[in-house]
């Protein structure tokens, strides 16, 4: 029924994506959940080692994505050794609001955000004041590889201007940056969700820290189901906005972008993290070579079933 109306509004041509008839939800086979073992096998099959390395390194991934014409956040600086760090003057080189990320960090480790400038210092989202020295120390920790897992001894710090979220989506949340996650096999989107920060998650879009995960229907771009800490909810607990039924602005563009991300980096099975910027629209934050499986619980759909429909044989 959705599709009929969509066609009426957008015209036949709007259906660029082949619409797979997934059948009524309850009659689908339940034998469809993707486990970690199978996911690892798929990664071994589709994601070459070089591409995984590239995806893990945010700087290298950004170069690859931009070469493929996919918009990412702008870059202020990349600091990969102490010499560059010594030449770096936060006072002189940093804008009012910025984000420092370890290039090879995982799960949001080591990300420092400043939302405003106050005299000679910056202020974090929580109100904590950051001096130039704090900033340099943090960059030093990143360069040392403190946030980059056990294998990396050294790392680069990536400094970007802070993303201001599109109010179309950010009005749902009290604070923080909601992000969209789309899992793709080759260039075909399989499943999508949006992660909405809450007061409990301290503005972070991390599901472990009780951010809301909401499943988004690929066809309509509407939120079908929202979960916080494993419990289904209908409205955002802090803002009271209706979540279920909310249409993600620009969902078509998000899907189109997500489908390009994997091939751009060289990944066959990928999860793209996309944010909606107030000025630049959808921007790719990161491409994951090992996207998590929690999205299945959130959408109440199995990734394995979606892949079967795409013709994956799991061999």
């Amino acid at each position: 029924m959705y599709m009929d109306i969509r066609r009426k509004i957008l015209g036949e041509k709007a259906d660029r994506r082949p619409v797979v008839d997934r059948g009524p939800p309850l009659e689908r086979p339940l034998d469809e959940i993707l486990g970690i073992n199978m996911r690892n096998a798929l990664i071994a099959k589709y994601n070459p080692r070089k591409a995984i390395e590239k995806a893990r390194d945010k700087v290298a991934a950004k170069v690859a994505l931009e070469a493929a014409g996919i918009s990412c956040t702008r870059t202020i600086a990349v600091i990969d050794d102490y010499q560059t760090l010594a030449a770096f003057k936060p006072e002189r080189d940093m804008p009012e609001a910025w984000a420092i990320k370890p290039a090879r960090g995982s799960q949001g480790d080591g990300i420092l955000l400043a939302v405003a400038k106050q005299g000679r210092n910056w202020v974090k989202g929580s109100g904590t004041v950051l001096t130039s020295e704090d900033v340099l120390h943090h960059i030093g920790k990143i360069v040392d590889g403190q946030f980059s897992g056990d294998s990396a001894a050294e790392d680069a710090a990536l400094i970007e201007p802070l993303i201001i979220a599109d109010p179309g989506l950010a009005d749902l949340v009290p604070d923080g940056l909601p992000d969209l996650r789309v899992i793709c096999l080759q260039s075909e989107p399989l499943m999508g969700m949006v992660r909405l920060p809450t007061n409990e998650s301290d503005g972070k879009a991390n599901l472990h820290q009780r951010a809301i995960g909401a499943g988004v229907s690929l066809e309509t771009g509407r939120i079908t189901r929202a979960l916080q800490g494993g419990k289904p909810i209908n409205v955002h607990p802090d803002t009271g906005s209706q979540l279920v039924g909310f249409e993600i602005p620009g969902w078509d563009r998000v899907l189109e972008m997500a489908g390009k991300c994997g091939p751009a980096v060289g990944l066959g099975y990928s999860g793209a993290d996309i944010v909606l910027d107030i000025n630049d629209g959808p921007l790719v934050l990161e491409v994951n070579a090992h996207p998590g499986l929690e999205i299945q619980n959130i959408n109440q759909l199995g990734l394995k079933a979606q892949m079967k429909l795409m013709g994956e044989d799991f061999k």
Binding site: K141, D144, Q146, D150, P249, G250, Q300
Partner: protein, 356 residues
């Protein structure tokens, strides 16, 4: 209460689909296999709490289990095999990949009870001191270095307290320091509960591996021939490592997917209707948006806009649309429904007579 549980389990079993059932049985089989091996190892343990001084010069592993120190290396494949089983069939999360195996090896050299005590104390000391160390703003390597010194200090003092013969020198100090570091990072990321669970898993796995390594089966296999153990284990891992099904813990993790579906399926009647209403409600919203889009769509240049069939009859009703003025301010204005979706005209675009 027991019968309640029994009937509940029976109901769950009836409802379970093959995707749930298969990994459950496999996980259960692997779990009981491990427990059986642990029982064998326990049966082979001569004394649980004995200090090395009482063994008059004999190595701890030989005195307690009859495992020669030269054969200690031979049990390593067995340990890695158990790590593979625990990870890909049961789904236990531990600090590091083969850390539990290395810890178990240290246990073998220190003793079944003394080993965990030594490990527990040294990790505990590290955990208590770590926050203070973190405040010193050291690099990661420096932090680990200080932790290693601290753990060695703890080990030496333990040696003095318990027994100077205590073979703590073989203790994997570096592994221990890494466990402490991982513990703090896990704590910062997911909270103390998660960190404690993983630490507990690591510990339990190490104890299990310890006892499996010294069962009669393992020891006689090692005694028979030095190539037997690595060969058998290598082949076993190569076969079982190909397992692609769900892990035992994943059944619990993804259970909501099928449990909730069942619940929805059961409440068919009223639920179905509700869904229907919701859909029609959304349809009206979409229809309203359609009108909105029509109003917002900027006029096209130099085209006849015809909104209805009547417009075609007289030329008077057709109108030529004026050219839109480029608005340089528009990019800064608030974008209503900033969907990025191109706004479509609901008008027929006629460029030639045939089109009519």
């Amino acid at each position: 209460m027991f019968s309640d549980l029994k009937s509940k389990l029976k109901r769950i079993k009836e409802r379970a689909t093959p995707q749930i059932r298969r990994p459950f049985y496999i996980g259960l089989a692997v779990g009981s296999f491990l427990l059986g091996l642990v029982a064998l190892g326990l049966a082979n343990t001569e004394s649980f709490f004995a200090l090395p001084s009482s063994f008059d010069g004999q190595a701890t592993s030989q005195a307690i289990w009859g495992l020669k120190p030269s054969n200690l290396m031979m049990v390593l494949p067995l340990g890695s095999f158990l790590v593979v089983l625990a990870r890909s069939f049961i789904g236990m999360r531990a600090f590091g990949l083969f850390t539990p195996m290395l810890i178990a090896l240290a246990f073998l050299q220190i003793g079944p009870i003394m080993g965990p005590i030594v490990l527990g104390t040294s990790v505990l000391v590290g955990m208590i001191v770590a926050p203070a160390l973190l405040r010193l703003r050291m690099t990661r390597v420096g932090f680990l270095g200080v932790l290693i010194s601290l753990i060695v200090l703890t080990l030496v003092s333990l040696q003095m307290v318990f027994d100077t013969q205590l073979q703590v020198d073989a203790f994997p100090v570096v592994v221990c320091a890494l466990v402490v570091e991982r513990w703090w990072r896990q704590w910062e990321k997911d909270g103390p509960l998660d960190a404690a669970r993983i630490a507990f898993n690591t510990f339990i796995l190490a104890v299990v591996i310890q006892f499996v390594m010294v069962s009669h089966v393992a020891l006689s296999l090692i005694e028979a021939s030095p190539i037997l153990m690595p060969l058998i284990i290598g082949i076993a891992i190569a076969i079982l490592g190909r397992y692609r099904g769900l892990r035992l813990t994943e059944i619990g993790r993804f259970a909501p997917i099928w449990l909730e579906r069942r619940r929805i399926a059961r409440a068919k009647g009223p639920d179905g209707e509700e869904v229907e209403i919701e859909l029609t409600l959304e349809n009206t919203v979409l229809a309203a948006r359609q009108d909105e889009a029509k109003e917002r769509a900027p006029p096209l240049e130099g085209m006849w806009i015809i909104n209805s069939a009547d417009d075609l009859k007289g030329t008077s009703k057709r109108r030529r649309v004026p050219q839109a003025q480029p608005n340089s301010e528009a990019q800064f204005a608030a974008r209503i429904g900033a969907s990025g979706r191109p706004l479509k005209h609901n008008a027929w675009i006629i460029k030639a007579e045939e089109d009519v």
